[in-house]
C-alpha cells in the first residue's frame, strides 16, 4: 500500500463576519486508498488530540449523490478528477510531498458560515420560485397515461441528475447559477407534466436567481467542466429559449 506525505493549506474562518486565512498543516503517512474526506478526517483527529478546533466541512452521503460536500481543491471545485464529487475523490490522485490548497466554494450567493462550510440556501429559494409541478398529493392519473419517448425521458433524467452542490457557481467567473437553474427548468420543460407552467416557471426561477446575487451566464462553460454529474450547458441554452418564450409569447 502506498503512503504519502502532504502539506495542506486550509482556509480557516471562525464565522461569517470574521476574516479568514490559509493555515498550513503537515500530514504524514496518508494511505493513497483514502478518500479525500477521510484524509481530512485524519487531520481533524490529530487536531482534536492536540485540543485544537477541527476543520469544519460539509459532507453526508460520501457517495457523490447528496451534494453536501464541496471544497475548492487546488483551485478546482471538487478537485482534479473529472465527474467526481469531493467525497469520491481518492488520495491516489495526489503525489507524495504535494501541497494541497483547500478553500470553500466562493460566491456572493454562498456566504461562508465557518471554515469550509458555506450557505447554499439560495438554491432552495430558486426551486421555491417554481421548480415543481403544481399538483397536490392524490388526484394523479395512472402513471402510464401519458407516454413519454425514451429519448425525452433520458434527456430529462440527464438534467434531473443535478445534485445541487453548487460547484457550477464556484467555477463560474460570474458566479452564475445558470447550470443549476437550467437543469431544473430543462427537466420540467422536456416532460409533458411540466408544460402547463413552463412560462411562469422560467420567468420566476430566473428572477430568483438574479435576486440571490448570482451573475449572468456568458458561456465560459467552466460549470460543465466541474460538474460532478456531467450536466451539459445545452440545458442553459434550453433555459434561455424557455425564458425568451415567456417574453415573446406573453
Amino acid at each position: 500500500m502506498d503512503r504519502i506525505s502532504l502539506t495542506l493549506k486550509v482556509w480557516r474562518q471562525k464565522g461569517p463576519s470574521e476574516p479568514g486565512r490559509l493555515v498550513s498543516y503537515e500530514l504524514k503517512d496518508i494511505s493513497t486508498h483514502m478518500s479525500f474526506l477521510e484524509m481530512l478526517d485524519v487531520l481533524n483527529e490529530q487536531l482534536i488530540h492536540k485540543g485544537e478546533e477541527p476543520v469544519e466541512f460539509d459532507n453526508d452521503c460520501r457517495e457523490g449523490i447528496c451534494g453536501m460536500c464541496s471544497l475548492v481543491i487546488n483551485g478546482l471545485p471538487h478537485g482534479p478528477q473529472k465527474s467526481t464529487a469531493t467525497c469520491q475523490l481518492h488520495m491516489r490522485k495526489f503525489r507524495d510531498g504535494e501541497t494541497i490548497t483547500i478553500e470553500p466554494f466562493r460566491a456572493k450567493g454562498f456566504p461562508v458560515i465557518k471554515d469550509l462550510v458555506v450557505d447554499r440556501s439560495a438554491f432552495d429559494r430558486i426551486i421555491q420560485a417554481g421548480g415543481y409541478v403544481s399538483m397536490n398529493t392524490g388526484g394523479a392519473p395512472d402513471a402510464n397515461n401519458i407516454p413519454i419517448a425514451k429519448e425525452i425521458a433520458d434527456e430529462a433524467m440527464d438534467a434531473a441528475a443535478c445534485i445541487g452542490c453548487g460547484a457550477c457557481v464556484a467555477a463560474c467567473p460570474n458566479a452564475s447559477a445558470s447550470l443549476f437553474t437550467a437543469a431544473k427548468i430543462s427537466q420540467l420543460a422536456l416532460l409533458p407534466q411540466g408544460h402547463p407552467e413552463r412560462k411562469r416557471r422560467a420567468r420566476a426561477m430566473v428572477a430568483q436567481m438574479d435576486a440571490e446575487g448570482f451573475g449572468d451566464c456568458s458561456n465560459h462553460a467552466e460549470c460543465e467542466a466541474v460538474c460532478p454529474k456531467n450536466i451539459s450547458i445545452l440545458h442553459i441554452a434550453r433555459m434561455k429559449r424557455e425564458y425568451l418564450r415567456t417574453i415573446f409569447t406573453a
Binding site: M34, G51, R62, I113, F123, M135, M157
Partner: protein
C-alpha cells in the same frame, strides 16, 4: 404501557378503506388552526410535510443537513416496488403483500403490509405527475425490472439514482408549500428533546447547528421521520449524519422501541480498506445477476485472482445453493461471505472480502453488454478502489445497510406516546425481520403521502389540545436537559476522540450483534457496551465550544445515544431465541445451516419500554397473527 395496534377487524382487503371512512375528518376551515412538526426531510418526512401542508395544516419541518434535499434517502439506488403489473407477469397487490410478509420472515403485521401494497400504485402515479423521470421503454411507457430475487418485474427505477429522483420529487412539492407559506423549513437543526404536555407530544427542542442556540417549537402533533440507526455499527452504507438521537430521545420519554435487533446486512459492498475508513459504499444488488461469487479453495492463498486456476476456486454460493446460486437472499449471501472469510479464505489485503467475478459474463455476453448494464457501477468501483472490474474481479464484503427495527407504531403510525407519529425507516412497521429490495422507498412514501394525511386528522379532532406556548414549563425543562447534556459533554476533556469510541462500539456490534449471533457473544456485548459507555462519559475529548458550528459536538451527542441503543439491540437479540430474517442465532439453525424460526414462541413484535437509566428495560409483546399468509420455512437449495 399497553400495546394496541388498533387494527380494525375487517377482511384484509377492506381494512384500510373502511378505516379511512371511519377516521374523523378535520373541517377544512379548521385545518389551518393546527400546527404540526415534521422532523426529517427524507422520503417519509418530505412527503408527509408537503401532503399535510396541501391539506391546510401549518407545518414546521426540520433537518440536519443544509437543505431538505440532502436527506439520506437521496442515496437509494436500485428502485421502488409497486404492484402495477405493467409487465403482465402475474403481479398483484396480493402478490406484493404475500412476498413482503414472506420476505420479512413472518415477523410483520399482515394488515400493515397489505395496506402498503395497496397504496404502492398511487405512489408511482404521484411521482410521475411530479415529473420524476423514471426509466421508460421505447414505446414511451414505464420500464420495470426484477430486483432482489422477486419473481416478477415490479421495480420502477431512475437509472441508479431512484432515491434521488423520488426525493427531489417530494422536495419539489415541499418547496412549493414553502412558497405558499404553509411549510417553514428549519435546516441545520437537530432535534434533541421531545416535549410532552399532559402526556401528549406537543413540541420539540432543537439545537441550531450554526450558532449552537437551543430553540423551542410547539405543535399539536409531532411527526418523526428521522431515518434508521445503522450507524450504530460505525461503518455502514448510511450517510454520515444518519443517527438514532431523535428516536432515542422519544424512546426515553415513553415511546416503545420495537425489534431493535432486526438489522439488514447487505452482501455487496466495497470492503473496508483501512482504519481510516469512514463509511461503506453499496454496490447494487443487481450485480449478482451476472457476477459469480468465489474465494480460493486454499486458506491464505495470496495469489492474484488471475493466477488461481478454475479448479482451485470455490464458487461457494453455487455449490451450496444449486437452484438459487449467486441470487440467494441478502442475509444468506452475507452470512456465507462471513463464513468463508472466518475460515481464512477471504481475499484482499485484509482477508475480509470475496470476489465477484464478471469474466464469464463478459465472455458470454460481450464487454459492451456488461458496460450497458453496469457501466456506472463499474466506474464507481474503479473510482473508489483503483481497480478495473472488467479486468480483475471486484472485491466485495457485507455491510450494515438498513434497520427494520424502530419506534413501535400502531396501524395509524402513532407511537405509544399520544400525538407522536413515526414514519419511514424510523418506525418498525412493515418489513418484519428482513426488508426486501426496493421496499423502503415504497414504505417511506406510503407513510408520508397516503397514510399520515388521514390518520393524523383523526387524532387532532379526537383529542383535547389546549393552546400552549413555548414558555410552558415542559419546554423549559426539556431545554434544561439539553443544555446540561451539552455542557457535560464539553466538560469531560478526556483523551479519546468521539470517532475512536464510535469505532470501538462499531467493532463490538459487528463482532457480537452482527450477521451471526450467539448467546455468549451477546452476553459479552452486554458487558462491553456499558464499559465503553462509561469510558465515553469519562474520557471523550471535544475541543471548541457550543456557540458555534461544531460537528464534533453533534457527533458526540449521537454516539452517546448509540451507546445506549446498542445495549438494547444486544438485549433484544439475546431474548429472541430463534433465527429469522436478518437475525441469525447460531444456536437456531437447521441441519443444513439455514435460519430456523420458532413460530410457537417468537411470533411477536418485541416492544421495549424504557424504565430509567441503568434499569433493565421492560419487554412487551405484540402477538402476530397470520390469517392470510401461510408460514413456511425458507429454502434456497
Amino acid at each position: 404501557m399497553k400495546l394496541d395496534a388498533k387494527i380494525p377487524d375487517y377482511p384484509i382487503q377492506d381494512i384500510w378503506d373502511k378505516h379511512k371512512f371511519e377516521l374523523k375528518l378535520v373541517n377544512p376551515a379548521n385545518k389551518r388552526k393546527y400546527n404540526i412538526i415534521v422532523v426529517g426531510t427524507g422520503l417519509a418526512g418530505a412527503s408527509a410535510a408537503a401532503s399535510l401542508a396541501e391539506l391546510g395544516y401549518n407545518i414546521k419541518n426540520f433537518c440536519i443537513q443544509d437543505s431538505p434535499r440532502r436527506a439520506h434517502s437521496i442515496a437509494a439506488q436500485g428502485g421502488i416496488n409497486a404492484a402495477k403489473n405493467y409487465p403482465n407477469d402475474g403481479d398483484s397487490i396480493w402478490r406484493l403483500f404475500y412476498d413482503t410478509v414472506k420476505g420479512g420472515d413472518y415477523r410483520s403485521r399482515e394488515a400493515n403490509v397489505y395496506r402498503l401494497a395497496q397504496v404502492s400504485n398511487n405512489i408511482i402515479d404521484q411521482c410521475v405527475a411530479q415529473g420524476v423521470p423514471f426509466a421508460r421503454e421505447y414505446g414511451g411507457l414505464l420500464a420495470n425490472r426484477s430486483f432482489g430475487g422477486a419473481q416478477v418485474s415490479r421495480t420502477f427505477y431512475a437509472r441508479g439514482q431512484t432515491g434521488q429522483q423520488l426525493l427531489l420529487g417530494a422536495y419539489s412539492s415541499l418547496m412549493r408549500q414553502v412558497k405558499l407559506g404553509k411549510v417553514k423549513i428549519f435546516a441545520r437543526r437537530e432535534m434533541l428533546e421531545l416535549v410532552l404536555v399532559d402526556g401528549k407530544a406537543r413540541g420539540i427542542v432543537v439545537r441550531n447547528l450554526i450558532d449552537g442556540k437551543i430553540e423551542r417549537y410547539e405543535a399539536d402533533a409531532v411527526v418523526l421521520a428521522t431515518g434508521g440507526y445503522g450507524n450504530v455499527y460505525y461503518l455502514s452504507t448510511n450517510a454520515k449524519n444518519s443517527n438514532v438521537t431523535a428516536s432515542w430521545r422519544c424512546h426515553k420519554k415513553g415511546a416503545a422501541f420495537a425489534n431493535p435487533c432486526f438489522t439488514q446486512i447487505h452482501p455487496t459492498c466495497i470492503p473496508v480498506s483501512g482504519d481510516y475508513q469512514s463509511k461503506l459504499t453499496l454496490m447494487s444488488e443487481s450485480l449478482r445477476n451476472d457476477g459469480r461469487v468465489w474465494v480460493p479453495k486454499k486458506k491464505g492463498d495470496t495469489r492474484r485472482p488471475s493466477e488461481i486456476p478454475e479448479d482451485e476456486r470455490d464458487y461457494y454460493l453455487e455449490r451450496k445453493y444449486p437452484s438459487f446460486g449467486n441470487l440467494v437472499p441478502r442475509d444468506v449471501a452475507s452470512r456465507n461471505a462471513k463464513y468463508v472469510c472466518d475460515e481464512g479464505r477471504g481475499v484482499g489485503e485484509t482477508g475480509l472480502a470475496v470476489y465477484l467475478d464478471f469474466a464469464d459474463a463478459i465472455k458470454r455476453l460481450g464487454r459492451k453488454a456488461i458496460e450497458d448494464k453496469y457501466g456506472n457501477l463499474f466506474e464507481m468501483y474503479e473510482r473508489i478502489t483503483g481497480d478495473n472490474p472488467y479486468e480483475t474481479p471486484m472485491r466485495i464484503y457485507p455491510a450494515v445497510h438498513y434497520t427494520m427495527g424502530g419506534l413501535w407504531v400502531d396501524y395509524n403510525l402513532m407511537s405509544t406516546i399520544p400525538g407522536l407519529f413515526v414514519l419511514g425507516e424510523a418506525n418498525f412497521s412493515d418489513h418484519g425481520a428482513n426488508r426486501l429490495g426496493a421496499s423502503a422507498l415504497m414504505q417511506g412514501l406510503a407513510d408520508g403521502y397516503f397514510i399520515i394525511p388521514y390518520t393524523i386528522g383523526n387524532y387532532l379532532t379526537s383529542e383535547e389540545l389546549p393552546k400552549i406556548d413555548t414558555e410552558h414549563a415542559a419546554f423549559s425543562q426539556a431545554e434544561a436537559e439539553v443544555d446540561e447534556r451539552v455542557k457535560k459533554l464539553l466538560s469531560i476533556d478526556g483523551k479519546k476522540t468521539v470517532t475512536e469510541i464510535h469505532r470501538e462500539l462499531g467493532k463490538i456490534m459487528w463482532d457480537y450483534v452482527g450477521m451471526s449471533r450467539t448467546k455468549e457473544g451477546l452476553e459479552k456485548a452486554l458487558e462491553e457496551i456499558p464499559k465503553l459507555r462509561d469510558e465515553f462519559w469519562q474520557n471523550v475529548k471535544i475541543p471548541a465550544d457550543a456557540n458555534n458550528l461544531n460537528k464534533n459536538l453533534e457527533f458526540a451527542g449521537r454516539v452517546a445515544d448509540f451507546l445506549e441503543l446498542a445495549e438494547l439491540m444486544a438485549r433484544d437479540a439475546l431474548n429472541r431465541e430463534e433465527s429469522c430474517g436478518g437475525h441469525f442465532r447460531e444456536e437456531h439453525q437447521t441441519a443444513e445451516g439455514e435460519a430456523k424460526r420458532n413460530d410457537k414462541d417468537f411470533s411477536y413484535v418485541a416492544a421495549w419500554e424504557y424504565t430509567g437509566d441503568g434499569k433493565t428495560p421492560k419487554l412487551h409483546k405484540e402477538p402476530l397473527e397470520f390469517k392470510y399468509v401461510k408460514l413456511t420455512q425458507r429454502s434456497y437449495k
